[in-house]
C-alpha cells in the first residue's frame, strides 16, 4: 500500500481539501493508496511514498530522498491527477 501525504502550512484547511481531491482522483483511476494530511513541521518526520503541496511550502521538504511534487495550483484537479499518475 503506497502512502500519499498532503502538506500545507497549518495542516488544517487546504491540505485537507486536497486530501479529499486525491482520494476522489484515486477512486477514478481505480488505484488504492493511504492518504493523509499534515503541517510542514510534522511532514519532515513522516514517511510517505509521495509528498504533495503548493510550490512554496513543500520546497522545504526536499532532502534528496523524498518524492516531493510541487503543485502550481492546489485546487487544479487535472494537475493533481497528473501528479498521481506519474508517481504511483
Amino acid at each position: 500500500m503506497k502512502k500519499v501525504l498532503v502538506v500545507c502550512g497549518n495542516g488544517l484547511g487546504s491540505s485537507m481539501i486536497v486530501e479529499m481531491n486525491v482520494k476522489a482522483a484515486l477512486k477514478e483511476m481505480g488505484k488504492e493508496a493511504e492518504v493523509s494530511h499534515t503541517d510542514l513541521t510534522s511532514a519532515k518526520s513522516e514517511q510517505a511514498d509521495l509528498y504533495l503541496g503548493s510550490e512554496d511550502i513543500v520546497g522545504g521538504l526536499e532532502d534528496g530522498n523524498k518524492n516531493v511534487v510541487k503543485l502550481k495550483n492546489l485546487m487544479d484537479k487535472n494537475e493533481l491527477r497528473e501528479a498521481l499518475e506519474n508517481n504511483l
Binding site: G9, G13, M16
Partner: protein, 457 residues
C-alpha cells in the same frame, strides 16, 4: 439512566463530537475498522486539544505577568487555537452542538437559498461555534434556544461570508470553481474595496521579483516559535532581570527563561493544531459528502491558502504590510483605553496574505499594500473591542484573531447587552439575518458585483 446519558455522555464534549463522527461514518457506510478508528481518533483529538491548552496557559500566564510589570497595561496575544481550546472547558458541549447544527443549517441554506456555498474550513466552523457559544451563554442563553439561535447564526455566516467575497474571488481565480470560506472575510472585503478605491492603473504585484526567502514563515510552528521567542525576549527585557529572576523563573537567567516560555507557547499551539486536525479528519469529509448529496450544484468554500497560488507576490507583500500596520496599531491601542493587542505572525500571515491577494485583484500593487494594511488595522482593533463581551474568557490574555470573529462577537455581544429580553434578541437576530439574505439575493439578482456589507449577524 437518563442522567447518565444526558449529563455524563452528552455532557462530555469529547464524546459528543465523537458521536457526530460516528454518525457521519455510519451514514457513509464505511467498514467497521474505519468506523472504530475514526470515532476513537476524533475523541482523542478533542483530548489532545485540551492538553495543548494546558501547556499554553502556563506560558501565557508568565507573559501576562511580565507584560504587566513592564508596561502597566495588559497585553493580549490573539490566537484562535488558544482561546478556543480554553473555551472548551466551560463551553465545550454548546460549541459542539452549535457546530453540528450550524453545518446542518449551512446545508439547508445552500439547498433553499440562492447561495450554494458549502463551508469546508472545519477549524473555522469550530472556532466560530465556540465564539457564538461564549457570547450567547454569557448573555444568558441556555439549552435549546442557545443551540437553535447559535446554529442559525453560524450556518448563515457559512454561506454569506463566501457569497460576499465571491465577486472578488472570481476576479482572483478567474473562475467560479470555488469560493473562499474563511472567517477573516470582513478584512478581505475591506481590502478589496480599498484596492478598488486607490488602485487605479496600478500594476499587478505579480510583475515584481520578490525573494522567496520569506516562505519559511508559512510553516505555522516555525512562525509561532519565532514570534513568541522574540516577544518574550522583548517583554522579559522590559520587565527587567530582577523581576523575572526573582518572581517567575526561580533564579534562571531571564533570557533563557523567556526563550523557553516562548517555545512552550509555540509547543502548546502545535499540540492544539494536532488535536484539531485529528478532531476534524472524519467530520469535514462526512459533511462534504452529505452536502454534495443534498445540494447537487453546491460550491465548496475553502480555506484562504487556496487563493495564494493565484498571486504569490501579493501573499508576501500582504503579510508584510499587514504586520507593519499591526505594529503601528499596537502603539495607538492604549491611547484609546484599549488593551494592547500584540500582533501575531500567524493571523497576519494568513489574513494579511489573503487581503493582499484580494487588494491586488482590485487595485494592483497599491491595492495590495493599502488593502493589507487596512486588514492589519482591523485585526488589531477588533480583537481589543471584542474582549469585554467575552465575559470571564476575556481575562485569559488571549483572544480571537481574525476579523469576522470580532465583527460577529461585538455586534452580538452588544445587542444582548442592550436588549433586556432574550426573546427579543432572538427575534432581532432573525430579522437581521432575513434582511441580509434579502439584500444579498437582490444584489445577486441585479448582477451587481458589489455586495453590501453582509457580514453582520
Amino acid at each position: 439512566m437518563i442522567d447518565l446519558i444526558m449529563k455524563d455522555i452528552l455532557g462530555t464534549p469529547a464524546i459528543l463530537v465523537g458521536l457526530f463522527a460516528l454518525i457521519g461514518l455510519l451514514v457513509q457506510r464505511k467498514n467497521t475498522g474505519d468506523v472504530v478508528s475514526g470515532t476513537l481518533k476524533t475523541i482523542m483529538g478533542f483530548v489532545i486539544l485540551g492538553a495543548g491548552a494546558n501547556v499554553l496557559v502556563q506560558s501565557l500566564g508568565q507573559f501576562s505577568s511580565m507584560f504587566n510589570e513592564a508596561f502597566a497595561v495588559q497585553g493580549v496575544i490573539p490566537n484562535n487555537e488558544a482561546i478556543v481550546a480554553l473555551a472548551q472547558e466551560t463551553f465545550g458541549t454548546a460549541t459542539a452542538m452549535i457546530m453540528l447544527f450550524g453545518m446542518v443549517v449551512n446545508i439547508l441554506l445552500a439547498r433553499f437559498s440562492p447561495f450554494k456555498y458549502i463551508f469546508l474550513t472545519g477549524h473555522h466552523t469550530m472556532f466560530m461555534a465556540a465564539l457564538i457559544a461564549v457570547i450567547l451563554t454569557t448573555g444568558g442563553f441556555s439549552g435549546a434556544s442557545l443551540v437553535i439561535l447559535g446554529s442559525i447564526i453560524l450556518g448563515t455566516l457559512m454561506v454569506l461570508s463566501p457569497a460576499m467575497l465571491q465577486p472578488f474571488t472570481r476576479k482572483v481565480t478567474g473562475s467560479d470553481d470555488f469560493a473562499v470560506g474563511h472567517f477573516g472575510s470582513f478584512g478581505y472585503l475591506i481590502a478589496a474595496l480599498v484596492g478598488k478605491a486607490v488602485g487605479k492603473g496600478s500594476k499587478s504585484t505579480e510583475e515584481i521579483k520578490v525573494p522567496k526567502s520569506l516562505s519559511f514563515l508559512r510553516d505555522t510552528s516555525v512562525s509561532v516559535s519565532l514570534t513568541m521567542a522574540i516577544l518574550f525576549f522583548v517583554v522579559a527585557g522590559a520587565a527587567g532581570p530582577a523581576f523575572v529572576q526573582g518572581e517567575l523563573s526561580g533564579g534562571q537567567n531571564f533570557l533563557v527563561f523567556a526563550f523557553m516560555q516562548g517555545l512552550t507557547f509555540a509547543a502548546g499551539v502545535y499540540i492544539i493544531l494536532a488535536g484539531v486536525r485529528m478532531l476534524l479528519a472524519e467530520i469535514v469529509p462526512a459533511f462534504k459528502g452529505i452536502a454534495e448529496k443534498v445540494v447537487p450544484n453546491s460550491k465548496p468554500a475553502l480555506d484562504c491558502p487556496a487563493i495564494f497560488p493565484f498571486a504569490g507576490n501579493a501573499v508576501i507583500i500582504g503579510f508584510f504590510f499587514s504586520f507593519i500596520a499591526g505594529l503601528v496599531s499596537m502603539l495607538f491601542l492604549p491611547l484609546l483605553g484599549l488593551k494592547v493587542i500584540v500582533p501575531g505572525l500567524v493571523p497576519h500571515f494568513f489574513t494579511g496574505a489573503a487581503a493582499g491577494v484580494f487588494g491586488n485583484a482590485t487595485g494592483g500593487r497599491k491595492g495590495a499594500i493599502i488593502g493589507s494594511m487596512a486588514n492589519g488595522v482591523i485585526i488589531s482593533f477588533l480583537p481589543a473591542l471584542l474582549l469585554p463581551v467575552l465575559g470571564s474568557l476575556g481575562f485569559q490574555g488571549t483572544t480571537f484573531g481574525d476579523a469576522d470573529f470580532g465583527v460577529v462577537g461585538i455586534v452580538l455581544g452588544n445587542l444582548i447587552r442592550m436588549v433586556e429580553s432574550n426573546g427579543i434578541v432572538f427575534a432581532v437576530v432573525l430579522g437581521i439575518i432575513a434582511l441580509l439574505f434579502f439584500l444579498g439575493a437582490r444584489s445577486k439578482a441585479n448582477g451587481d458585483k458589489e455586495n453590501p456589507d453582509t457580514d453582520i449577524a
